[in-house]
Amino acid sequence: MKRFIQMTLIGLISVALTACGGAQPDTQNNQGTAGKSVSLFLDWTPNTNHTGIYVAKEKGFYKDAGIDVEVLLPGEVSAEQLVATGKGEFGISFQNHVTQARAQGLPVVSIAAVIQHDTSGYASPVEKGIESPKDFAGKTYGAYGSELEKSMVNFVMQQDGADVKDVNIVQLGNSDFFVATKRDIDFVSIFYGWTGIEAELRDVKLNFIKTTDYAKDYDVYSPVIVTSEKLISEDPETVQAFVEATAKGYQFAIENPAEAADILIAAEPDLNPDLVKKSQEWLSPRYQDDAPQWGIQESKRWEAFADFLFKEGIIEKEVDATQAFTNQFIENIKK
């Protein structure tokens, strides 16, 4: 009997703890508007997608705006989950992640697009002879673990008159592009700005098929900066401050790629400096690209992609695209 009571108590306590952790997100302590502490969770390891943030930190843009930003790695938990539960104020995410997360009920909102146009594509060593999507047939695709990859590959192939059923899909997990493509993997989806540049450095010749060449309606914002609905409604001033300072940081990186690269290298010494410099040169002009302002997002792109996910059965609920993102903070930046 005693054991029952013990086990019951343990069960009760553990569930209650989880409940408490979930139901009341703990926001960082507010030390007044001066020097408010916020945390930002990266999506992955630091790279040139994040340069503007490091610049804003180094150059004191955040400090001037009255906030103190701590940059954190998410570990095994996704940045979206951390932001949604209030463990962090901001996070780096992607349009497809945000859409899927919102379909499952996570209240995350995209507040700025870091890079205006999708820089991803399907890369393969030239020896594999994959020059267009119809060449995917009969080959092996190394997936990074998302349900939507199959649909995307299929869509792209269909534009070229082929079908994904002829592709062998293998989940790569943590395996690195160069190691994987040495053996059984033929092509992988990569962001050119990082892995593509690395290939250039290593003198590995690649065939790169840009996703948006075949799927221009699905030009997804990758990456984006997200926050929680709660923070937007309860403390929009902090969000505004953050977005403004970050925009300044990216602006600097657009105009001064070399110096921005040095800032990133200094802040994250484990990175390969050659890669950072070359990547930054390639990426800087693309942050804002052809948009009127850095960070602006278009409704029709969010809607089109949400429809695509719904049609493909990757999400079961329709996502109201207008709730998934907002330009309010970008547009309020004082000129």
């Binding site: 499952q104 790569l172 190691v179 053996r183």
Partner: protein, 255 residues
């Protein structure tokens, strides 16, 4: 014997049911988000829906684990025996075995990938590598603890080394060996799932990755629960095998 099992298992069964009950109640009362901690009812609904899609993944993992585990057990038994008979082999190789158990899979993964590609082989190797060690240790330990009196009897009767091993040392070591096998079996399913994160087409690990990348927490729980059930089943099978092999022990302990 069978109804004894049911008599003994009502306690943990009841505890589990109470636990699930509390979980369900708390989820409703505290309105916990499904993507944080889904209620058992939500998980059950998800399981019903996703089971047909899940089964092929599960069978893939089962196959991988069984093959890897069998391989590992065989190596473990052979190694334990070799170590028992050849002191110098034991002294030389044993430290390397211990080191091998401490290499993180993350370090090993790219190497295995390069050598063996992305088929089932590297994953089976990982399962084999983690399962053989407890068995080698248990086998060696069991063989070294042969009853002195029985050993004396056999030697006085002029038993050859082979007779000594087959008729005395091995049967005497069986309880110890089975302990090792049970430990190994319990961890092998989880190891298989982790190994799938190296790179796989199908498997519970793949299913989990896809589910968590889509923030489908109920599905992740389905995978977790099924993994636990698989481990339990595996353990139970080994325990059953043990009962078959070690009949004499059973009655002594009044089990």
């Amino acid at each position: 014997m069978r109804h004894k099992f049911f008599i003994h298992s009502w306690r943990p069964a009841l505890a589990i049911m109470i636990f699930i009950g509390i979980w369900e109640l708390s989820a409703r009362i505290f309105a916990i988000e499904t993507w944080i901690l889904p209620a058992p009812s939500v998980i059950a609904a998800e399981m019903r829906e996703v089971l047909p899609a899940f089964l092929p993944h599960m069978f893939s993992t089962i196959k991988l684990v069984l093959i890897g585990f069998t391989f590992g057990t065989t190596i473990g038994l052979i190694m334990g025996t070799l170590f028992h008979h050849f002191d110098r082999v034991r002294e030389t190789v044993y430290p390397f075995l211990i080191i091998s158990q401490n290499i993180p899979i993350i370090v090993l993964a790219p190497l295995l990938l390069i050598w063996f590609g992305l088929g089932d082989t590297p994953k089976m190797i990982i399962v084999a590598m983690t399962s053989f060690f407890p068995i080698a240790v248990a086998t060696l330990s069991g063989l070294q603890q042969t009853d002195r009196e029985l050993l004396h009897y056999m030697k006085m009767m002029g038993a050859s080394k082979r007779q000594l091993f087959a008729k005395l040392e091995l049967p005497h070591a069986l309880p110890s060996i089975f302990s090792g096998i049970k430990i190994s079996a319990t961890y092998s399913v989880m190891t298989g799932v982790v190994a799938e994160w190296l790179g796989a087409q199908k498997g519970i690990g793949v299913f989990m990755t896809l589910a968590s990348s889509s923030y489908r927490t109920p599905r992740v729980f389905v995978a977790i629960i099924m993994t636990m059930l698989l481990s339990l089943t595996f353990f139970a099978m080994i325990a059953l095998l043990e009962r078959l092999f070690i009949r004499w022990n059973r009655e002594e302990k009044g089990a």
